[in-house]
Symmetry: D3
Subunit: 255 residues, 6 copies
Amino acid sequence: MRYENREIDELRNVEILPGYIKHPEGSVLISFGDTKVICSASVEDRVPPFMRGKGKGWVTAEYAMLPRATEQRNIRESSKGKITGRTMEIQRLIGRALRSVVDLDKIGERTVWIDCDVIQADGGTRTASITGAFVAMGLAFEKLIKEGKVKSNPLKGYLAAISVGVDEKQQAMLDLDYVEDSQANVDMNVVMTSDGELVEVQGTGEEATFSRKQLNEMLDLAEKGIEELFLMQKNVLGAFGDSIASKRDRKADGE
Amino acid sequence: MRYENREIDELRNVEILPGYIKHPEGSVLISFGDTKVICSASVEDRVPPFMRGKGKGWVTAEYAMLPRATEQRNIRESSKGKITGRTMEIQRLIGRALRSVVDLDKIGERTVWIDCDVIQADGGTRTASITGAFVAMGLAFEKLIKEGKVKSNPLKGYLAAISVGVDEKQQAMLDLDYVEDSQANVDMNVVMTSDGELVEVQGTGEEATFSRKQLNEMLDLAEKGIEELFLMQKNVLGAFGDSIASKRDRKADGE
Amino acid sequence: MRYENREIDELRNVEILPGYIKHPEGSVLISFGDTKVICSASVEDRVPPFMRGKGKGWVTAEYAMLPRATEQRNIRESSKGKITGRTMEIQRLIGRALRSVVDLDKIGERTVWIDCDVIQADGGTRTASITGAFVAMGLAFEKLIKEGKVKSNPLKGYLAAISVGVDEKQQAMLDLDYVEDSQANVDMNVVMTSDGELVEVQGTGEEATFSRKQLNEMLDLAEKGIEELFLMQKNVLGAFGDSIASKRDRKADGE
Amino acid sequence: MRYENREIDELRNVEILPGYIKHPEGSVLISFGDTKVICSASVEDRVPPFMRGKGKGWVTAEYAMLPRATEQRNIRESSKGKITGRTMEIQRLIGRALRSVVDLDKIGERTVWIDCDVIQADGGTRTASITGAFVAMGLAFEKLIKEGKVKSNPLKGYLAAISVGVDEKQQAMLDLDYVEDSQANVDMNVVMTSDGELVEVQGTGEEATFSRKQLNEMLDLAEKGIEELFLMQKNVLGAFGDSIASKRDRKADGE
Amino acid sequence: MRYENREIDELRNVEILPGYIKHPEGSVLISFGDTKVICSASVEDRVPPFMRGKGKGWVTAEYAMLPRATEQRNIRESSKGKITGRTMEIQRLIGRALRSVVDLDKIGERTVWIDCDVIQADGGTRTASITGAFVAMGLAFEKLIKEGKVKSNPLKGYLAAISVGVDEKQQAMLDLDYVEDSQANVDMNVVMTSDGELVEVQGTGEEATFSRKQLNEMLDLAEKGIEELFLMQKNVLGAFGDSIASKRDRKADGE
Amino acid sequence: MRYENREIDELRNVEILPGYIKHPEGSVLISFGDTKVICSASVEDRVPPFMRGKGKGWVTAEYAMLPRATEQRNIRESSKGKITGRTMEIQRLIGRALRSVVDLDKIGERTVWIDCDVIQADGGTRTASITGAFVAMGLAFEKLIKEGKVKSNPLKGYLAAISVGVDEKQQAMLDLDYVEDSQANVDMNVVMTSDGELVEVQGTGEEATFSRKQLNEMLDLAEKGIEELFLMQKNVLGAFGDSIASKRDRKADGE
């Protein structure tokens, strides 16, 4: 049995608080247990140089942690003058994952800047960031549609992410907190869409390995957790969320 | 009459929420109206090179804004690879102001890292940061004393800060929000201690000037506002706050 | 049928040339078709600060491409003054993968620096790097053992990596070249040990998704390719390679 | 009595040597005692991006010290690869102060670059820089008018700056040298115009505080010193200086 | 007698392998003994800002060493975030030398990027780089002419470089390897054209000096070595090499 | 005939003003015509890491230009955040040249920091820097000897530098000013000692070449100019200069 009687396949307490900060086109405060991330979506009316003139938009993400989001204070990346490899990996992952469910043609030559700022860290910050950023982005698209800047919902499906792992006793488990994560043999992040498809699978055994069987156990747990996250996202997005085209709908549109 | 019927000498709604994030030795979320800053105090058991071997401690501060704390998204300083002059000025000011009320001999060879992260900006972020950071630092000292690491309260007084300004009609006013600040002729930040003494006075007339008389009007407003901030700080610090030595007490100690 | 009549489950022509440059303790030139990487292993008699005093060693990797390794010339990272996110991701991956098969206790307080410099790129540079770096590291360990600096072989198994993907017709395939990689819907890198265990699985669908079934097809192809790579590595490492402890052996040792 | 019999309200020996270097549109070597600063004003026929298309000009300043301008050699900021917070604060202050007396509409889309390079430092480098830079800028404007590039004098008044402080015996004093400055309880920089108005007041008590009464004593001293600096500036600027519009004149012009 | 029975005026074994990497317009692997450098020439259809609109081209060079090209591993310049002074000096030298034999008018508004990447270093890397880069550039020009992008051969002569030095016994010698170079009193690099003219002479006595007589002895050796290098370059460039205009030819053209 | 009736073999007006700034152990303002450089020598009681524990000292140099030392204002290297290749080359040259005449064993574990700051540039800044820096360093050594920190004069000879060139009419000339330098075909810097030996010869023909005969003409001119510079240096260094050991003296000492 895990800390606080959590089951092997049980998510921590998840909360998604929309409109947490006032300036961004969309924003949420998302919590996975004690992990808390402010996700915001900012819309800029131009695209980066490599995308210009294609009539399409772009989605990009940045990720950071407050210096004391963690047990030990970290030096600010702005003070160091450079971004760590870990931060780069995470923000590239977030951007790539979000782009997989956005029809970039529908947003015109606009960039959606996703900012995920971790104010308290207790494991799973990248998966909380993706899950929260999807909602912040959804809120921004809702606003763009209301303002008439975007014609139809660019979202091709819901998107959420969760971490899974294998502990020292070879037990697979869902949504690891910091203590579990630092003791795990294997750590895997899974990103999926509401069509039941995988977007990203990143499994790593630092100084350890894992079998195909364990990979499948972890994927089963991830699928279960992500389904629950979709319900919470739908709850926040409400009516706008209903207009997110399912794969079947899209196929019917001849896409 | 100002926006939302605020009087010339009236503070915005101020709130100080202690323990806002769990890892730091002390933390608060402070709001001055729509300006919201997470202030944390982290204690490290060593001092920077220039302070080593003196048996004294050090207090230093860092300041940042989330990219979308503002109306327009700002590029992260970590992405730019360098800190702007504005940020440097503010974090030097916060550190200097806090050190003026700390007896560095009493904290031993420790560094108190103050982090002020603005999650939403609407004018007065540097004064909210100083006012909140003082409380976060107080909470950290309270913890150090409870743990027996520090013997007696290192605080020599309360410390708070407020902005004042002169508008285009030559009217002095207290605690400017973003709109007022951007229209003001003169902008001044005042930092004071509970002994009624000044710690910092920074008055600036960009493309404008001000008279000695206006300087005095602004200082009168600042004193009034800062007195009100002291009451809110005392409310949060409670019994620990009562042990902050007043100047009279310190004199009786032969200091 | 693929370019040059390659089968779906067929590797490109792979060559591993040992001792390619003379100064490093171990080095190879590895080719996966037109992808050519110089892998070197340099041994330093100290460890990074976070590992000091533990009596253990460390393995770390750096990766770079010559500016004109690619179709278009890339700006040097040294001229830009910073390392791209892509490079960081790759060098973190290489280091992590190699550490999974090294018994760090056996190498003492030494760092093995792995340098993977791509002199010609045609897809799969990161998997060629891992596969070649394993051999370069093996050659360096062989030298350390001969010199009496290391007592027994620190390698816990062979390690190799290959890329797999799914093309636009939903066909899974092994060892993608640059053209195939840029047209693929899904790109996955798999790192495995000679015990048949997974070390890293990184599957990504940029603007696309993949099913659990496709994931398994790709893993099957990867296993086949990696088994072939192990044979080539064994061929180069010769007698020294035979002393790489199999899992069964290690278990017999009570590990 | 101060070092070298200087009175409490007495400036050090001040000299302003015009045309000190030949290339800039305007330049001076200014000395406040042993503090020596080369101030130059360079005119560029374009403005920074945020000012383009407004038909107005811009004034910006940079400040630096030679490595051995000080008692101990300082590492060059170019070698460190970044500018210190102190330098940023000072150059922002110089630029802001100078802009307060320039009618930016009158200079057209031009940038005046002010460079203040301290070749010898003995306290008060920022106030010497402002006072000298005003003259260098005046000489540049005189040249632009002679060349017909600017129609009428853009200067709205004279501008000078001085430091004041309070020593350990609570004595206020004018124009602190390095030794006095490092022993002072309070350090304040005051910038004023020839209309008797304040432009900047920056008073700081590092590990000390000051009263409203002391603030006023310091301001009285600063006013006296700055009046004397105006006479020296006028002496150098000669006939051109006479055309600097006083406030009264400007009011008569209906400004 | 030198190591491996080399004579005072004898080059090491020199090889020039054309087409070593496939993407660049021209490339070679050049070896001077154990010194091995990949030289590539990349053609870009635009020039740097300072050359735009002149109808002329530009040639520029970059130089780097693999971290373990040397006896001790060097930290990558990309990891340090800056280029060392030594690298800057060398790449400026290579670019300048190559430009001396190119008629920039003939290549149109194009930039030739020369990349010299040392994969193994044993003395003389900069002279091997210049000698190899000339051939890589020649191959690129041959390609541009074949493609009709350039009308006539822009090369005004052959160009090669060699190092010479004076050892501790005051003996001048040709083409120093690393051991000789590190023991030499004087080190000189000489760049010449096939017209027998000097392009660069850089002689340096670190903690030593040299006489005019020694300078002349070194130049005599350099001339001899460079003549031999021209023959090898001609051998690689073949028929295209024959079209390199000699000075006499150019004079006949009225140049 | 040259500008201002200067002969082909005539130096510009040279002045060396000792003690120009007060803090450094030695300093001069040196002028070669309108080129003016502040040279200072600062003594630090430790050596860089690579020299520690050898009982020897080190001499290193830094070079910079004020932004408006030149006709067009240059961006500060501190603002750019990096040092240009030109600056690196020059400061490496100055340091290397000065070390050639210093007996590093005699100065103990100390570093002499040479700072050459060009306040006005009109050609020949690097040769003026070397010539002036030698005197500043001599003044610093004189001080160290007076203070008993150094026992005997560490200088092994005088050192000076001059530029020579060949103009478009193939005429060699001495000490080029900016206009001459920018029109010259060949530019060469020569550094010599008072023993008549060469320390550095750096001849460059950008987009031009030069013959052995022209090289010798330039060296003859350089020797003549440098002899004249030695007389001016001796004049400033006075009695201390007389103790600079000549080669013959050193040989008599059995060196």
